[in-house]
Every structure is written in C-alpha cells, then in structure tokens.
C-alpha cells in the first residue's frame, strides 16, 4: 500500500519528466532540419539531454510505484490527459528557430532555478538527479540566451520575429510556477521547495537578457493558459503523442 507521500513523489517526478520529454520531442523535430548544421547538432544534443533527464525521473517514479512499470510505460503508454507537462513546451515551433530558442530560454531559466533548489532535497535520488540535470540545463540556457540576444539585437526582421515569439510565449510562463497539494506535501517534508520563492529571481534573469536583446515583455497581459498539472492540454499535445508513441502502440511487443 502506497503512502500519500509516495503517491505525491510519483506525481512530482512525472511532472518534471513529462515536461522534459515533451520539450525534447518538440526540439528533436529540428533534427535534420536545423537552419545550419551546428545548430541542428546543438538542438539534437539538447533534446538528448532532456530525454536523459526525463528517463531518470521516470525510472525513479517506476521504482516507487513498484508495479512492474518502466520508464517506457510512462513515455509511451499514457494518453494526453495523463501527461503533466506545462502547456508551453507542447506548443509547436512551426520551424521558427527563434521561437525554439525563446522557449528553451524561458523554460531553461525556470529549470535551472528549480534544480538548484532540488539539489538540497532530503530525497537522495531527487537531489542526485537535480545535481546531474542542472549542469546540462545551465549549458542550454547559456546557448539559448545567446541566441535570444543575437536575434533580438540583430536585424530588423530577426528582432521582430523573436519579439513575436516572446509575445506568444510569455502568457505561458505563469503556469511554470503553479503548485498544488502534491508540492505542498513534498515541501513540508523537505523533498521539494516553494517555486514562488525563486519567481523574482527568474523574472530578473529573463529581464536581464531581454534588456541586452532589446526585447520588451508584453504589458498588461491577462491571458494565462493553464491545465498541465491536471492533464488538461492544448490540442497540440495529442498530435505530438500520436507521432511519438506510434511505434510502441502499433507494435506493442517491439523491443529496443
């Protein structure tokens, strides 16, 4: 019989893992389609890091669950209502490189601060996975941040396009900080930490780069899509999963 704390810990791991996996799946759509070879390779590498991070958290969730589940079950045998990723990462990039970099930057800054806290988790596996992931995330943020500055402070067209990306993605950033009873239980046990506490720092981080990039955050934004914590997604996730899960769903006995 699982305790409430174990159930919460599984949910918590799945949220992080789902977010990284869906983000990675979107980024990997660039593989073979990057604007230049170096960035094609870069995006494939970033996606690989994120998939690796999700595997660590899925494996831990499967271990706590103990019901014979595996990382592949979570990735390939659940429908969109069971996925707990934030809506931002499932949004399609429509072959707009700046959009991908902006998304990687906004989510990456959040992940960086989240993992920095989780390194202090009383749960040894969580703190280990966080210490591992933060190094990779730091590198991603550095890379994406450079591109945000380069495109924002670039030509008239590159500036306008990355400004459009920021305008489109900004409303989704509010959801990054959402928490519920799962978080509350883990916070009270020292396993997780209050995300609100680093919200100001996150804002400062992204504004610092936007200033360099001559970009401005949309003012008076009242639109704030939400639903990831409850598995309520935009229509894009279903299409993404249909492609990602095609093979294991069609050939259930296929092995690696």
């Amino acid at each position: 019989m699982m305790t409430d704390l174990q159930k919460a810990l599984i949910d918590f791991c799945l949220r992080i893992a789902d977010n990284s996996l869906i983000h990675a799946q979107r980024i990997s759509e660039w593989t073979g389609h990057g604007p230049i070879l170096e960035e094609d390779i870069a995006m494939s590498n970033v996606a690989l890091d994120l998939i690796g991070q999700s595997r660590g958290f899925y494996t831990y969730a499967a271990q706590i669950d103990g019901d014979g589940k595996t990382e592949d079950f979570y990735a390939f045998r659940r429908g969109e209502r069971e996925f707990r990723n934030k809506l931002m990462v499932e949004q399609p990039d429509n072959k707009d490189f700046g959009f991908t970099m902006m998304k990687l930057f906004l989510n990456g800054c959040f992940d960086y601060l989240m993992f920095r806290d989780l390194m202090k988790s009383t749960d040894e596996t969580i703190s280990g996975l966080a210490a591992k992931s933060i190094k990779e995330v730091t590198y991603h943020v550095r890379h994406a941040g450079d591109w945000v500055v380069r495109l924002g402070d670039g030509t008239e067209e590159s500036h306008q396009r990355i400004q459009n990306s920021l305008n489109e993605l900004w409303p989704y950033t509010n959801e990054l900080f959402e928490q519920d009873s799962v978080d509350a239980l883990l916070i009270s046990n020292g396993i997780a930490f209050d995300k609100e506490k680093f919200r100001d720092e996150w804002t400062k981080m992204v504004y610092e780069i936007f200033a360099k990039a001559t970009l401005s955050v949309p003012e008076n934004n009242t639109y704030s899509p939400t639903g990831g914590l409850k598995g309520i997604h935009s229509e894009h996730l279903g299409y993404l999963l249909a492609e990602m899960q095609y093979l294991p769903r069609t050939y259930p006995d296929a092995v690696w």
Partner: protein, 164 residues
C-alpha cells in the same frame, strides 16, 4: 564464488575503451564508480556522463561481456550521485585525449555554475599545434561531451572535451 580480487576487476574494466572516444577507458572517463565483490557475485556502479548519453548502454554491455569471460555475471547499477564531472579525469587521461586529437577539458570551477557567469577561460589550445589562436565554432559537437573549435594557427577544426 568470486576468485578475483577487486583490483583485478578494476584492471579488466580499465581495458574497456570508451565507445565514442576509444583513446581512453571507461574507468579513466570516470563512468565506473564502484566495484563491490559479494559472496557469489560482483556489483558495478556506473554513472552517465550526460543524462542522455547513448553510449551508456553500450558501456554496460561491454562490462557484462568482459566480466562474463572470467565467469562473472555482474549486477550493474546506474547511479547519479555524485554527478559525473570532467574533473575526475587525471592529467594522464587528459594527455591521452590531447594526443588523440581532442582538446582536454579545463578544470571546473564551481562559481561558474550560473548560466550567465562569465566562464571564459580564454581560448582552448589546439591539440594539434598547441596554438591558442583558436575560436569556438559551436558549443555542441559530434557527441554530447564535446564542443567544436577552429584553430587559426594550423587552419584545422578540432573538438574539445567540454568542461562539465
């Protein structure tokens, strides 16, 4: 019954080359973290270099194959803590990388963990001609652990094992 000493098992593992950078072994790379001998078996702890490193599976298979030759069926566990770092490479290992044509990683300094920290350690020395008149072409190279540079001295591209 395990008749080999721990040091002999370490030696065996040290003879397994990294599948992507065969100039160094998986022990020198720092992937093998611990070897424990129990009454009837041997337990090996390994840690990934990067979370998504596709070579980890291959390393695990090679460890299994190598130990099977001496009659052992190891139980191999992937651990994440402490997180792998290039600082675990010895100077000797770094020299092997350089001789193989890959610029070795610099020493990691922890104040540089922040993504906006100025971590510019100056140009990376070319592994071929030692010139420091080099520039970073791309942060990401042919594998997760490497970045791409260009040497203006000998006009050659080269890879660097990223400081991690």
């Amino acid at each position: 019954m395990v008749t080999l000493a721990s040091s002999e098992i370490w030696d065996l593992l040290n003879s397994i080359p990294d599948p992507e950078v065969p100039a160094i072994s998986i022990v020198e790379l720092g992937v093998v973290r611990d070897v424990r001998i129990t009454d009837s078996n041997v337990e090996v702890d390994i840690t990934p270099t990067y979370s998504g490193c596709p070579a980890l599976k291959s390393m695990e298979e090679q460890i299994r194959a190598k130990l099977l030759l001496v009659g052992l069926t190891p139980s191999i566990k992937t651990i994440y803590k402490p997180a792998w770092t290039t600082d675990w490479m010895s100077d000797e290992t770094k020299e092997k990388l350089r001789a193989y044509g890959i610029a070795p990683p610099e020493k990691l300094s922890f104040e540089n963990l922040h993504p906006f920290a100025n971590n510019d350690k100056g140009p990376v020395a070319c592994p071929f001609c030692s010139s420091t008149d080099t520039s970073l072409t791309s942060r990401f190279g042919s594998t997760a652990c490497k970045a791409l540079h260009f040497c203006n001295g000998c006009r050659q591209p080269f890879e660097q094992f990223k400081c991690h």
